[in-house]
């Protein structure tokens, strides 16, 4: 039982950390960024080379990874994304192309694979099983991240402006919001989050050019069924997908787990086109009317 909860939480953290960047960008700028996986790759590469080779402490490596990816986000925005605001379909195609290109660059850089980074902290033994302390930490981080983002979005001025822009972009602009600046800030935030996720997972996986694509399926599906609210939507989507995948993988194997997850996503989108965000909104409205 404990094992199942652990597997679920592991899956939840994985999907959340991958999806949160994509969801935020989609919710506020209307762009589907298929290159988010490659931001994670950049984060992982920074950590692999700085920590795995140069021996820099892991924490510093993560901070640097976030900084580098934030810069990469700005570059991507100025070069590509600036023309794609509010165009989810077109941006999906364009950023997918960017993703492929970056994957190839990543492959050329890493060749066989980037230098390995050991996952710190060792294991915790409970009963007859051992659990990676590091993975438990990642689970905690995913919750903390949601908490932080909640505070930022709901209690800060920036968060207020972001939420308004998400709801009615033109009106927000007419009230004095520099929407372009908001877009860049959001993309920087999302890239840094991608870099964070990529860096955090680097010790547990092999880092090759295709590192990002490992996360992309889950991130994209979570983003779609989460709907436009990056917090509530991503949280619920990650939760559901994690439950489905971890449960099915345990009893039927990884392949069925993957298929099951995708089928569930298809069903959800068919039944609730607005994703979980739309569902929650409608529920709140109904609750209030009573």
């Amino acid at each position: 039982m404990l094992q199942m909860i652990y597997n679920f939480l592991e899956s939840f953290a994985y999907i959340s950390l991958a999806a949160i960047g994509m969801s935020i960008v989609y919710g506020i700028t209307g762009i589907t960024n298929m290159a988010q996986g490659e931001f994670m790759l950049i984060g992982a590469l920074v950590v692999s080379y700085l920590c795995g080779v140069a021996g820099i402490p892991f924490i510093i490596g993560i901070v640097l990874a976030m900084a580098v990816t934030a810069i990469a986000g700005i570059i991507l925005d100025r070069l590509v994304l600036v023309r794609l605001y509010n165009r989810p379909g077109d941006s999906l195609v364009c950023t997918y192309g960017v993703s492929i290109a970056l994957m190839q660059v990543g492959t050329i850089l890493t060749g066989v694979g980037a230098p390995a980074v050991q996952s710190p902290f060792g294991t915790l033994v409970v009963g007859n099983r051992s659990y990676s302390v590091y993975k438990i930490l990642l689970i905690a981080i995913s919750f903390i991240l949601f908490g932080l983002l909640y505070v930022v979005f709901n209690k800060s001025r920036f968060g207020l402006h972001a939420r308004a822009t998400m709801e009615k972009r033109e009106i927000a602009a007419s009230l004095g919001i520099n929407v372009s600046k908001m877009n860049i800030l959001v993309i920087v935030l999302a890239s840094a989050l991608g870099g964070l996720g990529g860096a955090l997972y680097a010790p547990t996986m092999s880092v090759t050019g295709t590192y990002g694509s490992n996360f992309l399926t889950h991130a994209f599906v979570a983003m779609i069924i989460g709907g436009s609210n990056p917090l509530v939507g991503t949280l619920m989507a990650a939760g559901l997908l994690a439950v489905v995948e971890s449960f099915l993988s345990l009893y039927f194997g990884a392949f069925i787990g993957r298929i099951g997850m995708l089928l569930v996503a298809i069903v959800i989108i068919r039944l609730i086109p607005g994703g979980f965000s739309g569902l929650v909104e409608r529920m709140m409205v109904r609750l209030r009317k009573r």
Partner: protein
């Protein structure tokens, strides 16, 4: 304060306005009247910058603002109250108001909120309620209050009475007059509702097919027989 000369704009490549000459001075309440589809909304959207200028000029406070983006025009003191009110539905009433205040030189001040709640008591009552759950009339009030928090010099009102019940229309008229008298804010009102036009306008323009076809004095506005030909009555 604000003037347009031979203003042409529209959507995509299709012009809706075909050369509009317009003027409003500080502290005036000026209406643009006309039926549906004549280009009133397009005009206001072009003034605030949500539509681009295809030809002609817009001058505000002595400067050509053709190329200024909407948020820049807001910072120059324009407040835009869109057609359909367009409150932020998931933000609370208070949060909606806070969205307006960033362009004010004072920023956030409790005094300001006191006087706004004074003007709009219903908003004070519901300040923690999600804006999307309010009635049409209440949302209309909110959309006006929202631009007030920014201490605007010029308010652009696009058909504020749409979807609003008659007694609230009267309140809106009262508020417009109050804002103009007590705060000295210029008001550009685009409307079809005769009652509101007559109760607040100091002068006006009639629009048809994307052009100004007549300028209207106070007397002409009051004259039902004269004015009805510009409206769908």
């Amino acid at each position: 304060m604000l003037s347009t000369k031979k203003l042409v704009s529209g959507y995509g490549k299709v012009p809706i306005l075909h050369g509009v000459d317009f003027e409003i001075n500080e502290g005036e309440v000026v209406s643009i009247i006309g039926r549906n589809g004549v280009g009133k909304s397009t005009f206001i959207k072009t003034v605030i910058g949500l539509n681009g200028v295809m030809d002609g000029t817009i001058e505000y406070l002595g400067n050509n603002i053709n190329k200024k983006r909407p948020f820049e025009r807001a910072w120059l003191g324009m407040g835009y109250v869109p057609q359909g009110h367009m409150v932020f539905p998931n933000l609370t009433v208070k949060e909606n108001l806070e969205m307006g205040e960033q362009i004010s030189k004072q920023g956030h001040s409790d005094d300001k909120y006191t006087f706004i709640y004074d003007y709009f008591p219903i908003l004070k009552e519901r300040r923690n309620q999600k804006a999307g759950t309010m009635s049409g009339g209440q949302q209309a009030m909110l959309s006006i209050a929202r631009v007030l928090t920014g201490d605007p010099k010029l308010i652009l009102l696009d058909e504020p009475t749409e979807g609003v019940q008659p007694n609230i229309v009267d309140s809106i008229g009262d508020i417009i007059l109050k804002i103009n008298e007590e705060l000295g804010v210029a008001i550009l009102l685009v409307e079809q509702h005769l009652g509101l036009i007559q109760s607040v306008s100091q002068r006006g323009y009639a629009m048809d097919k994307g052009r100004i076809v007549d300028s209207l004095s106070r007397e002409q506005i009051d004259n039902y027989e004269y004015i009805k030909k510009f409206l769908a009555i």
